[in-house]
Symmetry: C2
Subunit: 112 residues, 2 copies
């Protein structure tokens, strides 16, 4: 019954969607990106802003996000030594979509 005008574009989009959600669907990834959308933050600051995440999980997720080029890790030798994380251009490009999803969830996906 479906009648896509351009089947190949749809398939391409679906594959991309699957790829995006395989990544963003991993617990904490989207929330961490959303948190960094307000500006760069250090490890402890992120741990505070994302309630429920363990230090080892936070460390794991920050590494994965950095490996994907969505965030950057900046070391300031200090003293005191400090490390901060920030969205890259690629990560920032995702923010409008995340905001839309967040707005949608507030309106249409009630807390159960």
């Amino acid at each position: 019954m479906s009648d896509p005008i351009d089947g190949s574009a749809c398939l391409r989009g679906d594959a991309a969607l699957a790829r995006a959600f395989a990544f963003l669907g991993k617990r904490w990834n989207a929330v961490l990106l959303g948190t960094l959308s307000t500006g760069p933050a250090g490890f402890r600051e992120l741990a505070r802003q994302v309630p429920g995440i363990s230090d080892s999980m936070l460390s794991d997720r920050l590494s994965a996000l950095a490996a994907s080029g969505l965030i950057s890790r900046r070391v300031d030798e200090g003293p005191p030594l400090s490390v901060s994380y920030a969205l890259t251009e690629r990560g920032r490009a995702l923010m409008p979509a995340l905001e839309q999803i967040s707005t949608w969830a507030v309106e249409h996906l009630p807390e159960s």
Copy 2:
């Protein structure tokens, strides 16, 4: 270092984002919604359009999406009996965000 103008709005948004991704991040959910964005489809049609999904998984996901009010299930008594699935208004409201994520993934999340 972050300086949110309205902390409570941010937290609300983050909780909503976590809720959205807990749901959309479940394998197949976003792809099934994207597939239905081209129009209503029957079970076999969906199974064909989403390569790699098993019948039992498809059945499971369609039930969950219907339970969340994102899709509707319509039975046409026929004969022949046929069942089709379609986005509800709530599901349709998510499409612009999914399209944005898909576009972002095509541009910024290369196939690895």
